[in-house]
C-alpha cells in the first residue's frame, strides 16, 4: 500500500513524523545504535523462526517431488545434495487418477460457495445487528452468540436424519449447507463487533448525504469492514477446505472432497508417501494462494482521519 502513496502524501507523512519526534527527548547516538541493533536482531530472529516454520512445508514439497524408492531409502533433505532425484512423476500419477481430480473439483465446489455465502450473509446480518433498530435485535444476537458454543459433533446425527428423507443426502449442497450453518454464527459475531466499532457519525453522515441502508452498507460499511471481511473469508476458506469430518459424514463417494480422497488413499505406515505428499501439497497450495491474495486487505488504520 505504502508504495502507492503519492509524493505529496509521503512528504506529509515525513513532516508529521518529524513533528511527532520533537516532543520526544533527544536520544544519544549510542542509544540509537542500540535501538537499531535491537530491531535488527529481532528481524534476524523473526526470519529464523519463519524459516524453521517452513521446514515441514518444504519437506512435504520435496517428498512430493521424489520417487517412492528415494523416499523409502533416504530423507527428503538429500535433494540438496542430489538434485537429480527431483521428478514430477508423482504429480503426473495423481492427475491421471480421475477420482483424485474430481475430488479436487469437489473441494472447490464445496469451499467456494460455503465461503461466499457465509461472507455475504454474515456481513449483511452483522450490519443489521450493529446498526439497524428492530424489536428483539439484542435477544436474537445473544442467540447467535449462544450458537457459537454448539459443538459440530452434536449436529451430525440430527442433520443426517434431516437430510435422510431428501435428495440432499450425500450431495455437495448438503455439505455446503452444513458448513454455512456452522460458519454463520462466528461470521456474524466477528463482523458485527467490527461494524459496531465504526463511528456512528459516519453512518449518520451517509444518511444525511442521502444514503439508503443498502447504499450505506455497500459504500461505507463494506470498504471500512474490508479487513474483517477478508479475515473471515480466509478463515472460513481454510476451515472448509481442510475439513474432513463433515465431508466424511455427509459427502457420498461422488461428491467427496480431496481430504476424504487423500485419507482413503492412505496406506498403512505411509507406504505410498509419494502420492500422499503430492496430494497434500496440492491441497495446501490453494489456501496459501488465497491467503496471499487477500493479505493486502489487512491494512492497519483504515479508520484514521474519519473522526477528529
Amino acid at each position: 500500500m505504502s508504495a502507492q502513496v503519492e509524493p505529496a502524501e509521503s512528504a506529509e507523512h515525513t513532516r508529521s513524523a518529524a513533528a511527532g519526534n520533537e516532543g520526544a527527548p533527544h536520544r544519544s547516538l549510542a542509544a540509537r545504535l542500540v535501538a537499531r541493533v535491537g530491531s535488527g536482531a529481532v528481524q534476524v530472529l523473526l526470519i529464523l523462526i519463519a524459516l524453521f516454520w517452513m521446514v515441514p512445508t518444504l519437506g512435504l514439497l520435496f517428498s512430493s517431488l521424489r520417487s517412492p524408492q528415494d523416499n523409502a531409502s533416504s530423507g527428503w533433505w538429500t535433494v540438496f545434495t542430489e538434485p537429480a532425484q527431483l521428478t514430477l512423476r508423482n504429480y503426473a500419477v495423481l492427475l491421471d487418477n480421475p477420482d483424485f481430480v474430481s475430488s479436487f473439483g469437489n473441494t472447490v465446489l464445496i469451499t467456494v460457495p460455503s465461503t461466499a455465502i457465509i461472507v455475504v450473509v454474515a456481513s449483511l446480518a452483522a450490519y443489521a445487528f450493529a446498526w439497524l433498530e428492530f424489536p428483539g435485535r439484542d435477544w436474537l444476537f445473544l442467540g447467535v452468540v449462544g450458537l457459537l458454543v454448539v459443538p459440530i459433533q452434536v449436529a451430525l446425527v440430527p442433520i443426517s436424519s434431516l437430510y435422510g428423507g431428501t435428495p440432499l443426502y450425500g450431495s455437495i449442497p448438503a455439505v455446503v449447507l452444513f458448513h454455512v450453518g456452522f460458519g454463520l454464527p462466528f461470521g456474524i459475531f466477528l463482523l458485527r463487533n467490527f461494524f459496531a466499532a465504526i463511528p456512528r457519525d459516519l453512518l449518520e453522515a451517509a444518511r444525511m448525504d442521502g444514503g439508503r441502508e443498502l447504499t450505506i452498507f455497500r459504500r461505507v460499511i463494506l470498504p471500512l469492514g474490508g479487513p474483517a471481511i477478508a479475515s473471515l473469508g480466509i478463515f472460513q476458506f481454510l476451515w472448509v477446505w481442510n475439513d474432513l469430518l463433515v465431508a466424511l459424514v455427509f459427502a457420498a463417494e461422488a461428491s467427496q472432497p480431496m481430504t476424504v480422497a487423500l485419507q482413503s488413499e492412505m496406506r498403512q505406515f505411509g507406504a505410498n508417501i509419494d502420492v500422499i505428499s503430492a496430494g497434500a501439497f496440492l491441497s495446501m497450495v490453494v489456501p496459501l494462494l488465497v491467503f496471499f491474495a487477500f493479505q493486502r486487505y489487512f491494512v492497519q488504520g483504515v479508520m484514521a482521519g474519519a473522526v477528529k
Binding site: E204, A205, D209, G210, V220, G305, A306, V307
Partner: protein, 410 residues
C-alpha cells in the same frame, strides 16, 4: 434555502427522561440561528431532531412548506456538519465532497464542477486527491463544510463544528463560517456551548437550559436585556456578577443596598423600567457586568456610584485587568444560578455566605494590587435587576414578553 419552523418540539426517551421540551423556534430563510447552552441542555438533541437523526416525540417540524416529522434524514434536504467531521476515511477529499451528489445521481460533469467550486471556495483545491488521514484538523473541518455546501441544501445544521480545533484556528474558521454563510445565504442552525461563537455568528441566539428555551434574540439584545438570571449569567465573559440586594426608594430615583454599601439607581433607569417600582422595599437580585465597573481612581464620579472593598487578585490580560474582590452581599441562589455554577464546574453556591465574589474589568492603567483597598465606580445606568424568586428580569414589560416576541418574529 428555506424557513425552518419548530413548533412545540419535544424529545422524551423511552425511560421517561425528557431532553427537549416544547421548543418553539422560527428560523427565517437565510437566517443564522445559534443554539447555545451548557452541556446536556438538549441543544444537540434539538439539532438532531431537525436533521432527522433523532425521532421527534412531540410537536411539528416544518422545513420550507413541508412538515417533515416523519421524513427520513436522507429526504429532508438538509446538510449537517458533525463535531467529529465524520469524513469517509476510505475516500479522497474529492469523493468525500461528492458523495452526497453521487448518491443523488447527478451527472458526472455537474458533480465535478460543483466539487471543484466548493473546493475553490474553501481553499481545498490542491488537497482534492488526498485522504482525510493526511489532512490537518482545519483542513478536515473544511472538507466537512465542503460536503455540506456542495449539496446546496435547504438548510445547514452544524453541531459544534469548531470544538475540535485549537483556539487560533477556531477564531479563523469562525470568521470563515460566518463569511460563507452570508455569501450562500443558507438557513443555518448552529449548536455550540461557546458563547463567543454564539455571539459572533448568530443573527439570533437561542439559549437553552435543561431542554427548555430561555430566550431567543439577537446577540446584543441577549446581552443588554437578558430575560432571566440564567441568560444573564450565561452570556458574557467573565459572567455577570449577581448579588442579593434591597431596593429602596429615594425620591424619583432609588438605591440598592448591598450589605453596608449602597448604589444609586438613577431616575432615568427607574422611568425606563416601571416594574422596578413594584420591588421598592423588597429584595432583588442585582446584576453588574464586569465591564460596567472601573477603578474609581481613574476618573471622577458621584459618591453614590462607588463600592469599596479589598483587591483579592488581579489578572492582567494586557488590554484589561480582571480584578477579583468581595462585596458584603450574599450571592443569588436560584435554580438558574445553581445551573450556571454547575456548568462552570463549581460545587455549588453557599447561600448563607455573607460575601459574594465579584469580578470587575478594569482599564490596564489601574494600579490596584492584591491586598490593597479598592474603590470601584459602577456604571449605575447599566444595572440589571431580577426577581429573586422567579429569576425573571425586571424590565418595562410583563415577564412573558420574550415569549411573545419570539411568537411574532418573522
Amino acid at each position: 434555502m428555506a424557513r425552518v419552523h419548530l413548533s412545540g418540539i419535544g424529545k422524551t426517551y423511552p425511560d421517561g427522561t425528557s431532553a427537549v421540551t416544547g421548543l418553539d423556534l422560527d428560523i427565517a430563510e437565510g437566517e443564522f440561528l445559534v443554539l447555545v447552552g451548557p452541556s446536556g441542555c438538549g441543544k444537540t438533541t434539538a439539532l438532531r431532531m431537525v436533521a432527522g437523526l433523532e425521532e421527534i416525540s412531540s410537536g411539528t417540524l416544518t422545513i420550507g412548506d413541508r412538515v417533515v416529522n416523519r421524513t427520513p434524514a436522507r429526504d429532508r434536504d438538509v446538510a449537517m456538519v458533525f463535531q467529529s467531521y465524520a469524513l469517509y476515511p476510505h475516500l479522497s477529499v474529492r469523493d468525500n465532497i461528492a458523495f452526497g451528489l453521487q448518491l443523488r445521481k447527478l451527472p458526472k460533469r455537474e458533480i465535478k464542477q460543483r466539487v471543484e467550486d466548493a473546493a475553490e471556495t474553501l481553499g481545498l483545491t490542491e488537497h482534492l486527491d488526498r485522504r482525510p488521514r493526511n489532512l490537518s484538523g482545519g483542513q478536515r473541518q473544511r472538507v466537512a463544510m465542503g460536503r455540506a455546501i456542495v449539496r446546496q441544501p435547504q438548510a445547514f445544521l452544524m453541531d459544534e463544528p469548531l470544538s475540535n480545533l485549537d483556539a487560533k484556528l477556531r477564531v479563523q474558521m469562525r470568521a470563515e463560517i460566518s463569511r460563507l454563510q452570508r455569501d450562500l445565504a443558507v438557513t443555518t442552525v448552529y449548536v455550540t456551548h461557546d458563547q463567543v461563537e454564539a455571539m459572533t455568528l448568530g443573527d439570533r441566539v437561542a439559549v437553552l437550559k435543561k431542554g427548555v428555551l430561555q430566550q431567543v434574540a439577537p446577540p446584543q439584545e441577549l446581552y443588554d436585556h437578558p430575560a432571566n438570571l440564567f441568560v444573564a449569567g450565561f452570556i458574557g465573559s467573565p459572567a455577570m456578577n449577581l448579588l442579593q440586594g434591597r431596593l429602596e426608594a429615594d425620591g424619583s430615583a432609588a438605591r440598592v443596598e448591598l450589605g453596608g454599601q449602597s448604589l444609586a439607581v438613577p431616575a432615568a433607569l427607574m422611568a425606563e423600567r416601571p416594574r422596578l417600582r413594584e420591588y421598592l422595599g423588597r429584595e432583588v437580585a442585582l446584576g453588574i457586568r464586569p465591564e460596567d465597573m472601573e477603578d474609581a481612581e481613574l476618573g471622577t464620579g458621584d459618591q453614590d456610584t462607588l463600592l469599596t472593598s479589598t483587591t483579592d487578585l488581579v489578572e492582567a490580560l494586557g488590554p484589561e485587568l480582571l480584578v477579583h474582590f468581595q462585596l458584603p452581599a450574599p450571592p443569588v441562589v436560584t435554580e438558574d444560578t445553581k445551573e450556571l455554577a454547575r456548568d462552570a464546574g463549581a460545587e455549588g453556591i453557599d447561600a448563607a455566605a455573607p460575601y459574594s465574589d465579584v469580578i470587575a474589568r478594569f482599564s490596564p492603567r489601574s494600579r490596584t494590587g492584591t491586598g490593597q483597598p479598592l474603590r470601584v465606580r459602577v456604571d449605575t445606568g447599566h444595572l440589571y435587576f431580577f426577581d429573586p424568586a422567579t429569576g425573571d428580569g425586571i424590565w418595562g414589560e410583563p415577564a412573558s414578553a420574550t415569549q411573545q416576541k419570539e411568537g411574532t418574529h418573522a
